[in-house]
Point group: C2
Amino acid sequence: MTKRRPLTVTALLDAAMGLFAEQGYGATSIPEICARAGLTKGAFYSNFATKDALFLALLDRSWERRAEWIRRAMPAGGEQAGASEERTRLPELVVDRQWTLVSTEFSLHAIRHPEVAKLLVEHELRVRSELAILVAGALERAGRIPTIPVDELARMIVAVSEGSDIQALTDTAAGAVVHSGLGPRAVTGLLGHFSVPAASVIAPDGSLSQ
Amino acid sequence: MTKRRPLTVTALLDAAMGLFAEQGYGATSIPEICARAGLTKGAFYSNFATKDALFLALLDRSWERRAEWIRRAMPAGGEQAGASEERTRLPELVVDRQWTLVSTEFSLHAIRHPEVAKLLVEHELRVRSELAILVAGALERAGRIPTIPVDELARMIVAVSEGSDIQALTDTAAGAVVHSGLGPRAVTGLLGHFSVPAASVIAPDGSLSQ
DNA sequence: TGTACATCAGTGAACGCGCGTTCACTGATGTAC
DNA sequence: TGTACATCAGTGAACGCGCGTTCACTGATGTAC
């Protein structure tokens, strides 16, 4: 019984992820999830108290995967040597349709349920601190230093990335040819605007650095 | 009968707007909308074929209001005279909780329904062209010219604004003290990065402008 | 290793409820004279 | 202006259906000897 349970949970989470992405959270019923997972409704209630609990478990799993993904993209090391513009480019975040749809819906859900919002904010804090390390590394390699806290830069980057992802998916759905570089270019722009060449900075002791 | 109908429609749209914002589109039932509007279900079916049709009508109304809002914010004229940073600041878009929730949900809905996505993209094209005029005006007053098409700048601004709005609402729901200036500062950053002082530009005939 | 037993994850039938949708009706709004 | 009539927006009762949830059960998984 210790082997069967996780398989059932995985099947339910997989089915839910697909359905939430296709139809939305509110429009998906518990029987639908069970049917797609090839299980009965009893199996659902044996593992989750409510659809909300399933949603949280689903996000937890997705967050873990995503965190691992960012961690892997992390150091890579200074193989770059192009123009300053080029060097501030972060590893491009893959626009994952399912993830974008489900996580955006979760943000709305969180805004409507303060106790869920606390979980989300806590999670985003962790993600942002990992992203801030990426940002700091990219700027350092480009020989620039930030003029605002890197955490604020990370916030702006997350905001513009999410907004661009939604825009891109909408355009794609409408059948338009998509301008996929927009998000990354905006990110590069923000990094450029909110940093200055290290050479131009005056160190605390009054001397010019570098 | 020419007087009663619009009142009924308005009551239904108002009720739906409130409920969609509070609970989400998928989680709101037709009977709930009717109850809040103080009408029977028959009144609903007498005016709309489906909940989807009501949603479209609701957005149409909201779009019209929003367009009017932008148009009003438009020219205002050069009363600014601060630093260059200051002068590129656009009239701050009020973060309207209801509108942010409902329109974000509509974007997700559109991504899932191509025929709806076409409507949304068409609408956004119009909004963006109005915004592009605002952007062009702000840059001109600041004595700068854009280095990328203003429409692309407008796209980036919309993306970062929407992302920041969601972030701000999530933080607020979680009870955090909100950093409301983040979106506008990112917008200013994008405007600054993707433009140069007019004085530094070489005109087509080879002379230096200004 | 093999057998006898205990556990409990998942089954499937059952329930009451609120959903979306229909339709004969009623009474307020507008028209003709 | 006043009355008699026509229209049709909104009412409210009715329907079948799928929802969320419960629970006695079964049979696969793990344990003890």
